[in-house]
């Protein structure tokens, strides 16, 4: 920009006052070049935004608008079938926060989230580390870890529903076969969370492993060679080099799985037939609670309030996650 505009300025400045007869075409030239100058400035300034705008326009439409509209619904009385009612202020929020099932759902959500996300990220890291080595039929292994991801969650829930049957399920039959007590997967709170978390893990671990693998392949190989020369074993290499070097990716996976984990719906929803998360709502998650309010109690106002509360909770979790991961990285003294 700097070079171009100076050149134009010089041309205009020299021709202007010296020869009045040529002033007219000249001033037209000047105008044109000024126009062009402005255009070019506009071009450099605005074009990038025009190019990225489709995403943001789409985001406004399918992201911001629903967010705002949900906020609008949440401050009104709003029936599923009867539609908009009176303005209610924060009454829906108050009713949600006073409902013991909300807190119950929050507890379940956090518990299932911890039981799924933590092992998921750890196993995915280890899996990626293994896939990053010189395996035979490497591509086959890499493809196959993604297989569970392709299966629809509803199908996963059906299969695991049978596997974790309380009385006639596969797991319990094996347990009884080796002389252990059967576990009441659908009844006991913790057991049901473990069963649901294992469905989530089964589905997402391979997917996360592939993301880690992609990041690991970008780690320069000569670093490993020098580490090997310095006498670092494979495990040492993995822990002290690979993991710190792919820290941004770990952060990304941790945050996406936080967002996904707190919104878990299909697996617990399909874990029993009534869809309320067990007889005592021992595995009703926040999204299921939202769904119950919206479609069983048929109160979209309260359901929207839950949606906003869930949104805020996720933001808090994501920020906390970010801080913890940053700190963990900083303690190891790696900049990234």
């Amino acid at each position: 920009m700097g070079v171009g505009s100076t050149a134009v300025k010089q041309v205009g400045g020299a021709g202007g006052p010296a020869s009045p007869t040529r002033a007219r075409p000249d001033s037209a030239d000047v105008r044109r070049s000024a126009w062009r100058r402005r255009l070019s400035r506009l071009d450099t300034r605005v074009t990038p935004y025009v190019f990225v705008s489709p995403f943001f326009l789409l985001f406004l439409l399918v992201g911001m608008f629903p967010l705002a509209y949900t906020a609008f619904v949440s401050v009104h009385q709003w029936g599923l079938l009867s539609g908009q009612g009176d303005f209610a202020g924060l009454d829906n929020y108050r009713r949600v926060l006073e409902d013991r099932y909300f807190w119950n759902a929050l507890r379940n959500t956090v518990s299932i989230f911890v039981l799924s996300s933590v092992p998921q990220v750890v196993i995915a890291l280890v899996l990626a580390g293994l896939l990053d080595t010189q395996l035979r039929a490497r591509n086959l292994w890499r493809m196959s870890v993604l297989l569970p991801f392709v299966v629809a969650p509803a199908a996963v829930a059906l299969i695991f529903g049978n596997v974790f049957g309380d009385r006639y399920g596969l797991v319990n039959e094996v347990l009884q076969g080796i002389g252990l007590e059967p576990i009441r997967w659908h009844v006991d709170t913790l057991a049901s969370h473990v069963a649901i978390a294992s469905m989530v893990n089964w589905r997402w671990t391979g997917y996360n492993a592939l993301i880690f693998l992609a990041a690991m392949q970008a780690v320069p190989r000569d670093v490993y060679e020098s580490a090997a020369l310095d006498g670092a074993g494979r495990i040492r290499q993995f822990v002290s080099m690979t993991v710190p070097m792919i820290r941004p990716t770990v952060l990304f996976v941790v945050i996406t799985s936080t967002i996904g984990g707190l919104q878990i719906f299909a697996e617990p929803r399909l874990f029993d037939t009534a869809g309320l998360g067990g007889s005592d709502r021992q595995y009703q998650t926040l999204t299921m609670y939202l769904w119950e309010l919206g479609w069983r109690v048929r109160d979209l106002g309260m359901a929207s309030a839950v949606a906003w509360l869930l949104f805020l909770i996720i933001v808090v979790f994501a920020v906390v996650n970010l801080l913890i991961s940053r700190r963990a990285g900083a303690l190891r003294g790696v900049d990234g």
Binding site: L81, A266, D280, L290
Partner: protein, 427 residues
């Protein structure tokens, strides 16, 4: 008014869905086609649940004309079907051309009668039992549902298991043992003493439901005020069933759950309350199991459980063709075939008198005269239990309370208290 309202609801619904479920990828089948097939025929969908016995009828309909092609969408449970119906009703699109509706939540849908086509037609006048038609007629005289089946109940039992306990197995003699609930439960106590690893009935909830269905006003009174908390009859059912569960009469399983389905193959229980349509479910779940029979009796006289209607939502693209199909499917001749297939007992007057129905026997149920038995059970019915708009929701809470006791999560007293809190919450 109505349209702007429903548009707003639609907006609200989609906004909510987009916000919360965007990353969850809820696997919902989008119904997306314009309602025509590749060769230009009109495509009609019929959404049902459990077993309606429509498979062969739909093939027959497809073969007898070339204008429409009919497809059935079957939901596993009535609950699932109901959720889907409400969601798409609120969204204003996505419903099937014909939607089946069960009587338990029929009253709630009657409040949305405008969303359904008026099906009244001189041709079908007098086709159904009066009360079946009355329940589907709005105050201003629109008929929004065609009756399919009704659910007169008998007791189904495993003759081989009764024999193990040294009890009579002949269906006439068994019937004599089960005339009152007290007798039925007493027989159960005897049974579990002799055969301790088999329960007496399939589920506490199902037994409670059978008893609730014998109460004219259970959860709501005539004016649809909620009376579940005060009604002594409801409390009595709750107390009876939870006490029996502790005595070991119940499998303590939840109806329709995987374990419940599996218990048919594992000698889980000896008897169960069975409305007509349940016979089809038993035959499916207990495939290969021998010894099933049905007794011409129901404790406490008689009971009705379930039964359905076909409706035509106004949001469909081909309502005329859908009405035509609904009329055909619910005609007496067709209902008789559905009964043959899945024991859905007709609500059509003409079909009830049909010799084909009365002579119907079932090899699976030890050649029992199933047609005659169910007809007798229907005959014995003295009143139709009242089910208001909150019935289904309260019933779900009631069933969950019973389940909490079965699972040992709460004592009967605590479970009753939390049931009362749930009713309060439903408003």
């Amino acid at each position: 008014m109505q349209t702007s309202k429903s548009r707003r609801v639609r907006l609200a619904t989609s906004a909510l869905l987009a916000l919360t479920l965007a990353t969850t990828a809820a696997a919902c089948g989008g119904s997306d086609d314009e309602g025509t097939t590749a060769d230009g025929k009109i495509k009609l969908t019929v959404a049902t649940f459990n077993e309606f016995g429509y498979e062969e009828l739909i093939e027959e309909y497809n073969a007898m004309q070339d204008e429409v092609v009919v497809e059935q969408k079957k939901a596993g449970t009535a609950n699932e079907h109901q959720d889907n119906l409400y969601t798409k009703l609120a969204a204003g699109s996505g419903l099937s051309d014909i939607e089946a509706v069960e009587v338990d939540w029929w009253a709630a849908l009657m409040e949305q009668a405008d969303a359904f086509e008026d099906l009244s037609d001189p041709e079908v006048e007098g086709r159904w039992l009066d009360w079946k038609t009355e329940a589907a007629t709005t105050d201003d005289g629109r008929l929004i549902g065609y009756g399919t089946d009704i659910g007169p109940e008998g007791i189904c039992y495993r003759a081989d298991l009764l024999e193990k306990a040294g009890m009579p197995t002949d269906r006439e003699e068994v019937a004599k043992m089960f005339t009152t609930w007290d007798d039925y439960f007493e027989a159960g106590r005897q049974f579990v003493k002799k055969v301790p690893d088999v329960a007496w009935y399939d589920s506490s909830g199902a037994t409670a439901q059978a008893m609730i269905n014998q109460t004219e006003y259970s959860f709501e009174d005539e004016d649809n005020n909620v009376i579940a908390a005060e009604n002594p009859q409801v409390k009595e059912v709750f107390d009876t069933v939870t006490a029996l569960s502790e005595e070991g009469l119940s499998t303590q399983l939840v109806q329709w759950a995987e374990d419940w389905t599996a218990s048919f193959q594992n000698d889980g229980f000896a008897t169960m309350a069975c409305p007509g349509w349940m016979l089809g479910v038993i035959e499916g779940n207990a495939e290969g199991v021998e010894g099933w029979d049905i007794a011409n009796v129901f404790p406490g006289g008689a009971g009705l459980w379930g039964g359905s209607y076909l409706t035509v939502p106004t949001q469909g693209d081909h309502v005329e063709e859908a009405k035509e199909l609904a009329k055909w499917l619910t005609a007496p001749e067709q209902q008789l075939k559905a009964f043959d297939a899945k024991f859905t007992f007709p609500s059509q007057v003409e079909a009830l008198e049909d010799p084909g129905l009365l002579d119907h026997t079932s090899p699976f149920f030890n050649d029992a005269p199933t047609g005659q038995i169910l007809a007798d059970r229907a005959e014995a019915i003295e009143f139709i239990p009242h089910k208001g708009p909150k019935y289904a929701d309260i019933n779900t809470a009631f069933q969950q309370a019973i389940q909490r006791v079965d699972e040992g999560k709460e004592s009967p007293e605590d479970a009753w208290q939390s049931f009362l809190a749930d009713v309060e919450r439903l408003g």
